[in-house]
């Protein structure tokens, strides 16, 4: 085809008579004509024009060649650019609203689903009564009178119903009523319902966080659709909630709270508060929304003795052989400090914990001294609010002014109130070898684990662990044992202070545990609010009878989940991992080998 382009050049050889004639005629004219000014200018322009036509033609040939080359490239070689381009367009992410909240293993705790909201523009509604009738026929759960009032209103925009199902959307569309429209909406869904409701929190109708993580991280969840990972392990959370709920029912308690913390990272892997609520529904019950674990401040009672003992041993004002006279109650001011399980004799430090002696702890507290005790409690994070990433965190109630009498009562957990989160964080700092790390409900990656601050020596930590084990083996905490998992802990039973008076029958019964006690991985705290003793507990409602069994069952359930193998030997290595050579009279060893799980 292209040869035709060049035929013009060969015209002179063409047999075509017309062209030959043209050519010869032109030639004749050229030679015969006279070259006056205009004529020569005309000829010059013609020559310039021809040359430049060649240039222009060359540029066009180049352009068409580029087009051809590009065609070959995209058609045959499927250029990587074309493919990448296509992919990037196809993979364009759909609009997703608020970011998900997930547990530490990526299980979704809160997510957003796209829905549609039905709204009306009343000025476009001709016959409100008729339209309302038809809308209600399609959506029978809407009250007719309300719909009609909305449609007849003067407003330019009214929501009729939010979060329609596709079926409902279809049936409204099917009515074909002008003035009714849909807008895209989203609905926050909590697939686990109440399971972690206090931590995850909830959003209002416009998807603003109003509680918990949803509130605290509202901006983050709005701006990024990347999931926010919590420290919670939903399996452990579930185990804790079920076991706690069972005991609350058994003992007809008002409520309770249960926490599990990773002692080496400060991560709360479970934090349950009962009663709780379903964030998918509408909430009215303020009692259920109250998070006992972070908002409740309680006089912890005997579990506080762990801190007193830790301070005393770490300072060196006492050692495991030190004895305190617990023969008689202490009378001070209008106050008497007495023992619940009174032995009426001198007690060693381990015995004070094992038998939970208030008298012994108070005297130990005096030995530590007011200033030192405050300092230690401060380092255990008990004097300032927990640094938790939740809006609902309460401040502790600390004696002010702090007198000697306060030191004595605080030493056994009275006259000072802290939140359960503070309690478990402080004890974690004891059992992990003496390092305090602030609590968190967010997942901590390996690199983000804070170095923490040393509070007590590793040696002191080891001794306290050993005593915690003795409490379970020989003392008030026997019912916390989970065979094979070496639970250690401390019971706590505090009379609730109701409007300034301690009420003997209104107890806050708790158990503060760690396992496996030789090298603890987790601490477990269970607190029950006003449990009632029953036949199985011979009427007792103390921590050792009500909270300890919850710990036992929770540990037995969660240890296999987190990969802790049972050890049917009471302590790995020799004699409680280097426990003191002088073993108190009460200490004995129990052969647990071959023990069966419950």
């Amino acid at each position: 085809m292209f040869t035709a382009l060049f035929r013009r050049h060969a015209l002179i050889h063409d047999k075509d008579g017309d062209v030959a004639a043209t050519q010869s005629y032109q030639g004749g004219d050229y030679q015969g004509g006279t070259f006056h000014g205009v004529e020569s200018a005309r000829r010059r322009s013609l020559e310039v024009g021809r040359t430049r036509l060649l240039v222009t033609g060359g540029m066009f040939m180049l352009a068409f060649s580029i087009i051809s080359a590009r065609l070959v490239e995209v058609s045959i070689f499927k250029s990587s650019e074309a493919l990448r381009h296509a992919r990037s367009t196809e993979a364009a992410p759909l609009h997703v609203g608020r970011g998900d909240i997930v547990d530490r293993n990526g299980v979704v705790l809160a997510t957003s689903l796209p829905t549609v909201n039905l709204y009306a523009e009343p000025q476009d509604i001709q016959d409100p009564a008729e339209v309302a009738k038809r809308v209600v026929s399609a959506l029978p759960d809407l009250p007719y009178a309300e719909v009609e009032a909305k449609l007849a209103s003067e407003r330019s925009f009214v929501y009729l119903k939010r979060n329609l199902t596709p079926n409902q959307e279809y049936s409204i569309n099917h009515l074909g009523i002008p003035g009714l429209s849909f807008e895209k909406g989203e609905r926050r869904v909590y697939p686990h319902g109440p399971l972690a409701a206090h931590i995850v929190g909830m959003t209002d109708i416009d998807h603003h966080g109003v509680a918990g993580i949803e509130k605290k991280f509202d901006a983050r969840l709005r701006s990024s659709s990347a999931p926010l990972a919590l420290s919670i392990d939903i399996r452990i959370q579930n185990a804790m909630r079920e076991e706690l709920a069972k005991s609350i029912e058994d003992f007809q308690a008002l409520g309770g709270t249960g926490l599990v913390m990773d002692v080496h990272t400060g991560e709360l892997v479970a934090m349950v508060s009962l009663p709780d609520f379903n964030p998918n529904g509408t909430l009215t019950d303020q009692n259920a929304m109250f998070d006992r674990a972070t908002l409740g401040v309680y006089e912890m009672g005997s579990t506080f003795k762990l801190f007193t003992a830790a301070a005393a041993l770490d300072l060196g004002v006492a050692n495991v052989e030190s004895r305190y006279d617990a023969t008689n109650p202490i009378q001070i001011a209008n106050f008497s400090i007495r023992d619940y399980h009174a032995l009426k004799r001198w007690l060693t430090v381990p015995e004070i914990l094992i038998h939970s002696s208030n008298i012994g702890a108070a005297k130990m507290g005096l030995d530590v001294g007011t200033k030192n005790l405050r300092e230690y409690l401060g380092k255990f994070g008990l004097l300032s609010p927990a640094s938790l990433e939740l809006p609902e965190v309460a401040s502790p109630l600390v004696p002010n002014p702090w007198r000697e009498i306060n030191t004595m009562t605080v030493a056994f957990g009275h006259g000072m109130a802290v939140t359960p989160v503070q309690m478990i964080t402080g004890v974690s700092a004891i059992v992990n070898g003496g390092t305090f790390r602030p609590a968190t409900v967010l997942k901590r990656e390996e690199s983000a684990i804070p170095a923490g601050e040393r509070v007590i020596s590793a040696e002191t930590a080891k001794k306290i662990r050993w005593m915690m084990r003795l409490v379970v083996e020989d003392g008030t905490g026997a019912k916390a044992e989970a065979p094979g998992y070496l639970v250690g802990g401390k019971t706590g039973t505090a009379e609730k202070n109701v409007s300034g008076h301690y009420v003997r029958k209104a107890l806050l019964s708790s158990f503060m545990a760690a396992f496996p006690i030789a090298n603890p991985k987790y601490t477990v705290l269970v607190i029950m609010d006003e449990p009632q003793g029953n036949k199985s507990t011979f009427g007792y409602a103390t921590g050792g009878w009500t909270a300890a069994p919850v710990v036992s069952r929770v540990v037995a359930r969660i240890a296999p989940m987190v990969g802790i193998a049972p050890i049917y030997d009471h302590w790995p290595g020799k004699g409680y991992g280097g426990a003191p050579e002088v073993v108190p009279a009460v200490a004995r060893t129990t052969d647990l080998s071959g023990g069966e799980s419950e």
Binding site: M1, L5, A41, L53, F64, S68, L71, A86, T89
Partner: protein, 378 residues
């Protein structure tokens, strides 16, 4: 007409007979191919588009089948005319076009933010389309007159007319068409012997206006941004077009088997080249490119030996216009430049543009007919 062998005898001196023996058969043949391919691709691409906008399947096909014979008539009708008549047609057509464009600004119909259309009972006209070929002829006339006669201010008149046309186009606004008109006008000035200093200056001004358009017109900026960085915006059409070429490969998927027409809003107009690529493959696409290149270069070659400057400038202008239009459309579809709503001559669906292109090609054929003479228009 010799009825015996169904062709024209050499001795036939009727108007049609003379036309047949002097018109450029090769260009005529190439145009016939283009129009045939256009019909084929409209049949293939437009039913999907028509269905999508809720029209009857063959809505665009029927309309195109009205325009195609009309276009053929115009091509033949105008190419029958003498160069002098063509020049008159150009001048008169240009005047009418300018008046209509002014009218457009007053009574025009706004479509997608630009006022380019004027409604005539039966069809909507785009006067600016008809300005293009006629203005090229008028420009050629002015430049050639200035060089043939002393004291004739042809260049000044050409500059003035150019300013007016560009002004009218930018008022619509129609940046793309101003670009083509400017390029054609500059090329003609270049061919007419503009000094190299001015040529360079025009190139600089041209580049300057491109940058200016980017900053003045938001839709231009948006298209350029999306071309330079596809992630900044919606590049859906171009991405689909690239997939279409890739999907078509060498031989294509076969007529009607393509998918791109189902998703591209402009499959029958701006992106018809992609439909060609998908259904008929690389072979047909290269053939189409070849046809355009052939028509442009053939026009150049035809006037290379012509003794008349007007003919050279007019044919040069008309060819450049035709070629540029095709290049811009194909380059857009191939992601070689930012997308620009421009039709592929004789192939894309579109009444105004097809008829205007017919006027242009009719003039080109008329001017490239073999003549005898000194270069004076007889």
């Amino acid at each position: 007409m010799n009825m015996k062998n169904y062709s024209f005898a050499r001795t036939d001196t009727s108007a049609v007979g003379r036309w047949w023996w002097t018109v450029d058969h090769w260009t005529l043949g190439a145009l016939a191919f283009l129009i045939a391919i256009g019909v084929l691709l409209t049949l293939s691409a437009s039913p999907a588009v028509a269905q999508r906008i809720g029209a009857q399947s063959f809505h665009f096909v029927y309309r195109q089948f009205v325009f195609v014979p009309l276009a053929v008539l115009i091509i033949v009708g105008i190419s029958l005319q003498s160069p002098k008549t063509v020049r008159r047609i150009g001048a008169v057509g240009f005047l009418i076009g300018v008046v209509l464009m002014m009218a457009t600004l007053v009574v025009g119909v706004e479509v997608k933010g630009a006022t380019r259309w004027i409604n005539v009972p039966g069809l909507s006209l785009q006067p600016s389309e008809f300005i293009k070929p006629t203005f090229a002829v008028v420009t050629a006339w002015m430049f050639s007159e200035a060089r043939a006669k002393d004291h004739f201010p042809g260049d000044l008149i050409a500059v003035g007319l150019f300013g007016m046309v560009i002004g009218l186009l930018l008022l619509q606004p129609d940046v793309g068409m101003s670009l083509v008109v400017s390029a054609v006008w500059c090329t003609q000035f270049f061919l007419a012997g503009l000094s190299l200093f001015w040529v360079l200056l025009l190139v600089v001004i041209g580049l300057g206006s491109l940058v200016g358009a980017y900053f003045i017109f938001p839709h231009v900026a948006s298209r350029v941004d999306r071309f330079l960085d596809p992630s900044t915006g919606d590049t859906y059409q171009i991405a689909k077009a690239m997939q279409a070429f890739s999907h078509g490969g060498l031989l294509g998927t076969g007529p009607g088997e393509g998918r791109v027409k189902e998703v591209l809003p402009d499959a029958h107009t701006d992106f018809i080249f992609a439909v060609a690529g998908e259904e008929f493959g690389l072979i047909l696409c290269l053939f189409i490119v070849g046809l355009f290149a052939f028509i442009v270069l053939r026009g150049f070659v035809r006037v290379m030996g012509d003794e008349n400057l007007f003919i050279l400038l007019a044919v040069g202008g008309l060819s450049v216009q035709f070629g540029l239009q095709a290049l811009i459309n194909m380059a857009s579809s191939l992601r070689l430049m930012p997308t620009k709503g421009m039709t592929l001559p004789f192939i894309s669906y579109g009444g105004s543009s097809m008829l205007a292109r017919a006027v242009g090609m009719g003039m080109l054929l008329a001017l490239t007919r073999r003549r005898t003479g000194t270069g004076e228009l007889g």
